[in-house]
Symmetry: C2
Subunit: 469 residues, 2 copies
Amino acid sequence: MSNSKIGLYYKNVMADIIGSEHGITSQQMDDLAKETAPLISKLNAERNEGKTPYRDLPYKTEISQDVQDLASRFEEECENLVVLGIGGSALGSIALQTALNPYMYNLDSVQREGPRLFVFDNVDPQQFGSFLDWTSDKLEKTVFNVISKSGRTSETAAQFMIVCQMLSDILGAESLRDHVVATTDAKKGTLRTITDELRLRCLEVPDGVGGRFSVLSAVGLFSAAMCGIDIDLLLEGARDMDKRVSDTNFSQNPAAINAAIQHHFYNRGKNISVMMPYCYALKDLCDWYRQLWAESLGKEVNLKGEKVFVGPTPVKALGTTDQHSQVQLYREGPNDKLFTFLQVDNFDKDIEISPAPDCAPELGFLAGANLSRLLNSEKAATEYALLQSKRPCLTVHFDKVDAYSVGQFIYLYEVTTSFAGALFDINPYDQPAVELGKEATFALMGHPDYQDLAAKIQPVNNIDEKFMV
Amino acid sequence: MSNSKIGLYYKNVMADIIGSEHGITSQQMDDLAKETAPLISKLNAERNEGKTPYRDLPYKTEISQDVQDLASRFEEECENLVVLGIGGSALGSIALQTALNPYMYNLDSVQREGPRLFVFDNVDPQQFGSFLDWTSDKLEKTVFNVISKSGRTSETAAQFMIVCQMLSDILGAESLRDHVVATTDAKKGTLRTITDELRLRCLEVPDGVGGRFSVLSAVGLFSAAMCGIDIDLLLEGARDMDKRVSDTNFSQNPAAINAAIQHHFYNRGKNISVMMPYCYALKDLCDWYRQLWAESLGKEVNLKGEKVFVGPTPVKALGTTDQHSQVQLYREGPNDKLFTFLQVDNFDKDIEISPAPDCAPELGFLAGANLSRLLNSEKAATEYALLQSKRPCLTVHFDKVDAYSVGQFIYLYEVTTSFAGALFDINPYDQPAVELGKEATFALMGHPDYQDLAAKIQPVNNIDEKFMV
């Protein structure tokens, strides 16, 4: 149990702070409440009808038990865990690891309590090759977790075929059983067939849950459990947030308020939504959010079948780093952004700034303060500067960063996405536009079923030297 | 010498490909040429008058000599190099390292020919603390390169004060001379004073070159040289690109064409500029570009003194990873983006995809192909899908990724930024909006000179519980 509650602070989007040209007046906020409140009951009803199974993942204690049982089998002998997956099969694992384990985890055996973790969500031959060179003499102590609902995702399939061959060549074909965990559909699909045929250890990708909503299933939990993260506490955080985001009182519901504000500003021409944590550990939650937000809300057609071409563009920034990169634009560029800061009130570890050299008394004001105070002062200063430029700012406050607060955050943003989908009047759970690119890849890789498409792509793919400079 | 030339391919922004509602017609391209061509002579003249000293950095062979001389002093005994800097003092170092050294460089002593490299561009106590815990018993073999023009950047100053104390405590005050390299102003400023007082080894931040244009000075070159990167070849690439971007023939000048296209689409409502490399090694060049583009072009006031609030928002994406995260939005969301792919035609290292398991013949089409073919097919497929959705796409082609091509790329984008600044009619070399945040940080840290400001910030900084949910 933990009481590290997170909270959404939204005063700094209000007209009282940044003026009515860019801020939300009290009247507008009342209108947002009226528009959004009925959606809370609607989403609760959909959830009760089983239409949004991601909502129930935090209650599936049997999943976390399976995950932990499997993880404990590897406890002794695994020194390197390698996740092969992409999109929703990778971003949750990366986010949890960065959030909840030390920065030097992979490099410092003293600071880690599980295997090193590598997540490969790409097919770059130099990157993957560099890793395979390193790992080839460490395979005895390496476990690969291949994650794909269907097994037909080209990137993951290619990686997996290479890894299986390497394991067979070096450790023998029988080694796959001890060195591969397949996370895939319970019943059907290519990876399920392979898993059954090769009798691989496996976990399930739950039915009806899109990749981007799957982090609280075995998809995200296995690597977390292997690396010593308290997945029960993570799920407890999500369950506790579930109570808050199911509250039919709009003014008490952080997901409804967050979605209403995001949707409102999008309609006022702010097509960019920046998430900017002032905490290194939270930075990869932004990439998880980028997928959740972009793939769920970027839609051509609404539920009435009308062409709408909507969707805010999520942008990742990091404080203080990006103050020295993006804040000039954020303050003086077009007022086309809504900012969401993530702020941590208590850091587990702190460092006192040492005295200034005698010859530089101008640095004396820093001496004796903790780095966390400097970091949070930079956040307050940046927010102040943005407010002076009339830019709307939200803050998600973390009492501290632990599995409990991260579980809350994940669930808050998942349900915020459902609310935003309802406000945009689109289906937030599909991704129809991804299909053409997948088919075009099949075509260009010579797949016999897609040769008509290959003929169509070729003219676009050929270089016309007239336009090369 | 290398002949790995880079080229800008722009056919897929043309109306012939994506239609005239979102594409550029031949007539419009002619107009862009007329508008932009005179700026080439103007920029060349400014450069000859010494107004853009960054343009001359690739010719300063004495700098690269100094850098290499200093690097060679540490060759034997340095196992860890730590850069302390932020913004332009960090992003170039990170970009060069990711681009030109192996993915597993820090973890695999076999794959590296220099010290491990760590760049700290933040003041997160957990992140920095995790590193200090690891490094505290390795200080004998650790060198810190502190980079700041003035020495008054709070983040870098705080880090440096902590590190100096740690070195003094563990290795003795005299150790600073052997474990610190200060890169700072040649004559004035806080870090210059400290450097002289403590007789630290030092390198120069050149005069008149903003941080974001400084990667080809000692700022970016020292860590690169230490880590075995061929900095002479990097500068040669930049010099060879200089010839191309100085060409007064618009149709032969990739920087002028790139800037003209970027500016044109911004004015047609595409306020987001996405850079999406299909190569892991190039990914951190996107963060370098994000600063260059955002801080240079995000401006409230134009050269006539009129309020304009302009500036495209640069966004980093990575192929194929972000196909499974952002491409749904990129195809179906609002047509508010210009895409720039980075494509590598030849990878130094490649991996053949192994045979599919017998039970999964549907994966057979992948077997036997190289990963680089899959990666580039994914790029072509994604571009094809975007073009079907009428989204404009540029591609920067790299024959291969080496110091020569990366040097070209850096110089191309620096000069593109100068052209874009001229087209937007703003000053691309200042960053006036950053100042208020710096002063507000001083105020919140209790600096005696800024207490009036602290009083103004306090009301914004206090939590109003009514808006916390």
